[in-house]
Structures are given as C-alpha cells and as structure tokens.
C-alpha cells in the first residue's frame, strides 16, 4: 500500500515537471514573437525621441528636408485619414447592414461576399494603380487628396464591411424576433436594437481599417502624395505630403539625412497608429463590460 502510494506520488511529480517544462517552453516562444516588435518600438523611441520638439511637430521642413519639422506630412496624414472616413465608413456600414440584415442568401450575395473577402487580400500597390487609372486619370481629380482618399477608402471598405457584418451578426437573433413580435418593423429593430448593440464592434473595425489606411504608402504613391510641398494644401484637389511616404523619402531619397529626423518621423507615425489602436481597444473593452448578453 505504502509502496504504491509512493510510486503514484513519484509519477505525479514527474508529470508535474513535464507540465512545467511545457508551459515554460510555450512562454518562451510567446516572448520570442513579441521580441521583434518590442525591439522596433524601443529602438524608434530611443533614437527618435530627441528629434521631437514643438518646431519638429509644427514646422515646415528646411534645408532639403534635412532639418526643420514635418508638420505638412502630419497634417496630410490626418487629412487623408479624415477623407477615408468620409469615403469608406458610411458606405461600408450601409453595405454591412444590407448584407447582415436584408440580403437574401443567393448566388448574388455570395458573389458579393466572395468579392469583399478577395478585395481585402489584394496588394495595396494594386489599389494604387487602380486609383491612378480611375480617380487621377479617368475622373481627372489629378494627384490630389480627393483621389488618394478615395483610393485608400476602397482599400479600407472590405475591412469595414466584414468586421461590421461580423459585429451585426453577433447580436443574438432572439432580440430581433422579440423586437418584431413587439410590433417593431425590421428597420426599427435594426436602428433601436441591432445597431446600438453592435456599434462598439463596428467602431473597432472602422478604427482598425483607418489605422491601416493611415500607415499605407503604396495606394497614395501615385494618387495624391508629393515628395515635397512648400505650402499646405488648400483644397481637396491639391496634392499633399503624408507621413509614410515622407518617411520613405527621407530614408532613401535624401543623401546626408540626419538619422534622428528619420526616427523622429517614424515615432510620430507610430504614435498616431498605436493611438488609434489604443482607442479601438478602449472602446472594445468598455463595451464588453457594459454588454448584457
């Protein structure tokens, strides 16, 4: 009796050790996956923080962009993000409501869904060429904020549509049945129950889409962005500078560029994008806490 107990105990301590080893290994691998990201973020902060100043954030570039600030690029990226919001968000939400709530399940809607999934996978430079062909040349918007926003908007649409549709579908069907049984129309049900309940999910998708758009270079390369502009854009039909492209320019196209300005620019872009990301996380977690189902 005693002997069996002992051997059982031995075996269980061995199994415990194997479990500990396993967890330790998995933990190490997880750490390895975030290591590059941590390294990049820390490196950018360390190398770039000294460049950050009021003059850098609010000034124009001088000395062939080797000195001065990056305000036109920051403003350009903000303007483009705003443009994308107008171009993609209302359309995307409308499409997702149609797909999730109204569309019958037939060959057409399956084709539309397939198209949306595939659009999300198209390389961004292809969107750039598409924008050049359609908006810059065919509609004659020229290289402009308008053309670039529309191009980025089309690129963002699939993200918005698919995350918003997902959010709408996650609202329990029983709410819809009850609402209709209380003599609400389908539209009243959507507006009063389904949309408010899925709004946090939709917003999260929208912000993640905008964040991707804000950081893209290829789609705006041919459609709206300029190497250097001495003045700020005064209408949507003017071209603009933008942070991602500016970063590309000052790291590859300008000889004798001080590295702290490069890293400083990267830091500003990083803060902008991570800020949006943080906003999405806050919205999501607040909504989870308040959710009643």
């Amino acid at each position: 009796m005693n002997a069996t107990n002992k051997s059982l105990k031995l075996r269980s301590s061995k199994r415990n050790n194997i479990q500990r080893l396993g967890f330790a290994g998995l933990g190490l691998l997880t750490f390895l996956t975030v290591l590059p990201i941590l390294y990049i973020v820390v490196k950018i902060i360390v190398e770039g923080i000294s460049a950050i100043s009021m003059d850098f954030l609010l000034g124009f570039p001088t000395d062939g962009m080797r000195a001065g600030g990056i305000m036109p690029a920051i403003l350009g990226t903000v303007l483009l993000t705003f443009g994308v919001t107008i171009a993609a968000v209302p359309l995307g939400i409308a499409a997702s409501v149609y797909l999730a709530e109204y569309a019958p399940d037939n060959r057409w809607t399956r084709l539309i869904r397939l198209a949306i999934i595939n659009l999300a996978g198209i390389p961004s430079v292809v969107y750039g060429l598409f924008g050049l062909g359609i908006f810059v040349l065919f509609f004659q918007f020229g290289t402009s904020i308008l053309a670039a926003s529309l191009t980025l908007g089309i690129m963002t649409l699939p993200v918005v549509i698919s995350t918003a549709e997902e959010a709408l579908r996650s609202v329990p069907r029983s709410f819809r049945v009850v609402s209709v049984s209380l003599s609400a129309t389908q539209w009243q049900t959507i507006r009063r129950i389904v949309l408010p309940q899925s709004l946090p999910g939709i917003l999260t998708g929208v912000i993640l889409g905008l964040e991707r758009a804000a950081g893209e270079t290829a789609p705006i390369l041919f459609t709206g962005v300029a190497f250097y502009l001495p003045t700020l854009p005064s209408s949507p039909l003017d071209p603009t500078m933008a942070l991602p492209y500016h970063l590309f320019v000052i790291t590859t196209q300008v000889p004798g560029m001080p590295s702290e300005i490069q890293y400083g620019t990267a830091l500003v872009l990083l803060v902008l994008v991570l800020g949006l990301n943080l906003l999405a996380t806050v919205i999501r977690s607040r909504a989870r806490r308040r959710r009643q189902w």
Binding site: F175, S179, S181, Q197, R291, Q292, W293
Partner: protein, 256 residues
C-alpha cells in the same frame, strides 16, 4: 364569443416538414385556451402563424383559413399577404419560452412596443409601465429601479417583465409559449395567478410546459400530436375523461 376561427389550416416548412395538418379550431375570447402535447406537435408553429412571426421563418406553404374576430364581429384574414402585420402584432402579443429581455433598461423594455408604434407622450408611457408591471405582479419588486438594465433581474422576474411588456402593448390576445419552462415553482405560481386574473380582459393562448399546468390552467384544452389536432374539449372534461385513446395515453403519461 369566438376570437379565432381556424379552418383546415395546414403549414409546411421549406424542409418539407408539415408542422400543421388540417387544423380546425375555434378559440373563445376572454378565456385560457391551452395547446398541449409532445414536442414537435405544431403548437409553437400555430402561435407563430397567428401573429405572423412565421414570416421570418422558411415557410413553404400555408393553406386553409385563420380568422381573427373583434368585438364588432369584423373578420381579419390572418393569412392574407396584405394584412398589416405590424398592427396585427400589437393585437396579438407573445411571450416566449426563455425570458428574452431586450438589452435596455426595465422601463425601456416596457415602453419599447408603444414607442415603435409612435407613442411619445411621457405621461402615457409612464402610466403604461406602472399598469403593466402591476398586472404582471412585478411592480413592487422593481418600482425603485426602473432604469436598471433589465438583464440584472432574476430569471423569474425577467419572464414576468416579458409578460408585462406584452401587456404594455394593450393587446387583445396574449400568446404564451411555455412561459414558465425555465422558472422555479414560486415564479411559476405568480405567472399562473397573473394569467388567471388577466383572462377577464384578454384572450389567452397558452402552451404549457407540463400536463399538470395544462390541467390547472385550461378553460379549453387542445391536444396536438405531430401536427394534428387530436381532441378539443373544455379543460375539466378533457383531463378527467379524454375522448380519444391518444389523448388518454398522453394525459396518463404513457408517452410524452
């Protein structure tokens, strides 16, 4: 006085399941009609046909007649495509098996039906909240926290809230599909007592969750088996002296 007259009513879903087979039934006003029988008998399908919630389901074919009568003897054909289903659902209100509260406050749950119908008058809405909660025997428990989320209530309270929400619509008919299936005996008693009082002013159709409840509640009892209406009789007769062998076997617990 009859509230509903069903003639040869048949319903087939798109998966070719015939949920209702040639149903002939007259449902009287101001009484409790109990539809009972084993699962899959067509009871829920019948309720959802009456208030046209089946419009949301995959229905292949409905034949026969289903008429709703009002005080003046006007007849509304429930199956007619042109029937105003929004107005209809205000007249025929429904409580479901699981208490499904909308993700709103207690107050908003109660005013939802009136608000979507265009009622804006604050006084009328408040009155309706109090009155319907009192009818459902819930007023005393929630009167101090009407703005709390309805989801914070207990299961029994939620189901009485669902009943109150139906009453707030000021319907003519209340249809209840196993309203006490998830409730404890005390909550069940409260709901049943409310219904006994409510039948003075409403027509009630109840799908009970047990034969005992059917026997307790039925003014008129209708036994459904696999889409067929086997027997209809006043509750007192049917449960004491069933006229059909199948009814007797079921009531005596030989299958179920």
């Amino acid at each position: 006085m009859n509230k509903f007259i069903l003639e040869n009513l048949s319903l087939t879903y798109s998966d070719n399941v015939q949920a209702l087979k040639e149903i002939n039934l007259e449902i009287p006003a101001y009484s409790i009609t109990v539809l009972f029988g084993p699962a899959g008998g067509g009871k829920s399908s019948l309720l959802r046909t009456l208030n046209r919630l089946n419009d949301l389901a995959d229905v292949k074919q409905i034949t026969g007649r289903a008429d709703l009568l009002d005080h003046e003897g006007n007849i509304l054909n429930l199956l007619d495509k042109s029937t105003d289903v929004i107005a209809l659902r205000r007249r025929l209100s429904m409580v479901f098996a699981r208490p499904i509260v909308l993700p709103l406050s207690i107050q908003q749950n109660l005013t939802y039906g009136l608000e979507v119908s265009g009622v804006r008058n604050r006084e009328r809405l408040d009155q309706s909240v109090q009155h319907s909660l009192q009818q459902a025997a819930l007023w005393d428990e929630v009167k101090d926290r009407l703005n709390d989320p309805a989801a914070a209530l207990s299961g029994g309270q939620q189901q009485r809230l669902c009943l109150a929400r139906c009453l707030a619509l000021e319907p003519e008919v209340i249809m209840l599909d196993e309203p006490t299936s998830g409730l404890d005996p005390i909550s069940t008693n409260k709901v049943e007592a409310s219904l006994q009082k409510l039948k003075e002013s409403y027509t009630i159709i109840l799908v009970p969750h047990s034969i005992q409840q059917a026997a307790r509640m039925a003014d008129l009892a209708a036994f459904f088996l696999q889409g067929e209406l086997i027997e209809v009789a006043p509750g007192n007769d049917l449960f004491i002296n069933p006229g059909q062998v199948k009814t007797r076997d079921y009531v005596e617990g030989r299958f179920g």
